[in-house]
Symmetry: C2
Subunit: 347 residues, 2 copies
């Protein structure tokens, strides 16, 4: 037990807290290859490795049942875990799904949830192999664990970015956060005036990005076909800024990314305008995009640029501790791991 | 989705609910050997198999922080999962630990919890390889997943009991439930009179059985040394009655157990007397003992009887659907899967 007094959980932050709490654990099993600190743990089975990842989703923190259909929630609870498996360049194989449910749920409601779980199993070819079902005094609690496999030589960690490698992202960023903002706004208006009918037409793209994220298996396949094994890779669950800092910390490097190269959908820009906010802020700090952030050698530029859905946004540097966002005018700002929660507080 | 209308969750029960919700899932991965429905899932790796199990523990449902030290809680949260791994005759290797915490928790409180997790890792030689840490609006939420390995030929399922095999249990039963009853009583007295000092001396054994259960690794080692591979095995988490019914259902057999052979500690009997309840009821329906229930061939009687901490309590029969408790007078009653929750309601 540490004798130093006494930081609060807020001061440590989520990642500092995990580091702090798990720092005294010694590795005991030969098969444990990577423990806490990547998208997933790695267990060695010889020529291939197994990756293991788990996520907890709590009602009122991670989802709001007022505007989240249970089938979507079941699908998303699985997919956010598969996203971590894919971010290791691994193929998902098995999942467990545990739920704590309060008395307000009917069997039909749970069937809806499991329909979403089943859809994800079918689409991504994984088996539901276990779980736990329990009563909850306090709303819906979901915990999913996913297991995947990869060839050892193809495994892609956060810690393997190299100086001068190109930094790439898939798809576009910030859309999920703007989708959530719209849902929250309509919920608020409805709460103030129960006669108010939520107006969600025209927001389909950003709503779907929030409610039904899709891991970028297509890009991983295209990279494989092009013969590119990413240097480092991570999925974008907490916003681009936070994920870039994870890679820089784990790989002991710096980075610079160019703000005008960060991909933003038109729908994201339009929604941001409604809230008079910069869409770039949603991309950097909004989170829940479940796109991939990865690095490739400079020599891979032509190949990677030709893959649909990939944007090259910057490069890795050897300046440890320096994660820079470069503006149009050449000015730079240091990226912060602000994340979702802090963003919500600032507004 | 089922079209039949419409049973409530209470009517289905926990196990019926799991069966119902997971019945539409098709196995997709060749490596998935056992899915939902045993102590753990089984993933095939050739000569050896991997077992995977997960448990969710919720504040107010599974534990009460008024009388549960956080270090004990961390230890127990791990151990109840390892118990499932051992019940497959497997050795635990890795765990993940996810927690949802409300604002009332300090870093020191979490350190206490992780001290307990660490103690379990040290004692049972497992690695903490991952997890998730998140805010919770509603009390402490814990989800642990454990992974273990076994030689394929030594794996012990619920479904492999055979007619005439002897039914054995380790240790004694019902103690954990009586420990909980004492803690609940003292909490209640303190709530009624804040000046009241809880009196827990003399109850050490049953309190420890509730707060710090220990998987019976000693018995598994003794069985191995004696050359006995159990027929079927399960850990006793929901009470002897419920676990016997699991084995009978999975193995498509019946059973008869003799009430006077069910092992009860003196401390359990004394505490039960204070509550004017039958200690056998605690053993049958109390749960949380984390002892092992297993079957062995008749030919193993002498060997298994000589192992310290093992009681032979009855035998498997070919009468499917008939799980009988035989009384002193030769009278029989059909065992019910009453379990913890139902017991609490009945009182």
């Amino acid at each position: 037990m540490s004798t130093e007094k006494t930081r609060t959980i807020d001061e440590l932050g989520e990642f500092g807290l995990i580091d702090h709490l798990t720092s005294g654990f010694i590795k005991r099993q030969e098969s444990t290859s990577v423990g806490v600190g990547d998208d997933a743990a790695v267990v060695d089975h010889g020529a291939y490795v197994q990756v293991i990842t788990t996520d907890m989703l709590l009602e009122g923190v991670h989802f709001d049942l007022v505007y989240t259909p249970l089938k979507h929630l079941g699908y998303k609870a699985v997919v956010v875990n598969l996203s971590d498996v894919y971010a290791m360049n691994a193929a998902p194989r098995q999942i467990t799904v545990s739920i704590g449910i309060s008395g307000k749920f009917s069997v039909e409601a749970l069937e809806e949830f499991y329909e979403g779980v089943k859809l994800a199993c079918e689409k991504f070819n994984v088996d539901l192999v276990g779980g736990d079902t329990t009563g909850s005094m306090t709303g819906l609690v979901i915990s999913v664990t996913a297991i995947g496999t990869a060839l050892k030589k193809e495994l892609t960690l956060r810690s393997t970015a190299l100086n001068n490698q190109l930094i790439c992202v898939t798809g576009d960023l910030g859309a999920a956060y703007m989708g959530l903002k719209i849902l929250e706004r309509e919920k608020q208006l409805h709460a103030e005036d129960p006669g108010f009918q939520p107006e969600l037409t025209g927001y389909d793209y950003i709503l779907e990005r929030y409610l039904k994220p899709e891991p970028r298996v297509d890009v991983l396949l295209a990279l494989k076909e092009a013969g590119i094994v990413p240097g480092a890779m991570i999925d974008i669950s907490d916003g681009l800024s936070s994920e870039l800092l994870h890679i820089c910390k784990a790989s002991e490097c710096g980075c610079q990314v160019y703000d005008e190269r960060i991909p933003l959908a038109e729908e994201t820009k339009e929604a941001a305008a409604e809230f008079q906010m910069e869409p770039l802020v949603a991309a950097l700090h909004g989170g829940e995009d479940y796109e991939l952030l990865f690095t490739v050698p400079l020599s891979g530029f032509d190949k990677v640029s030709s893959i649909e859905g990939v944007s090259v946004i910057g490069n890795i540097t050897d300046k440890k501790g320096s994660a820079l966002l470069v503006g149009n005018d050449g000015g730079t700002i240091q990226l912060q791991a602000q994340g979702w929660k802090a963003l919500a507080k600032d507004e």
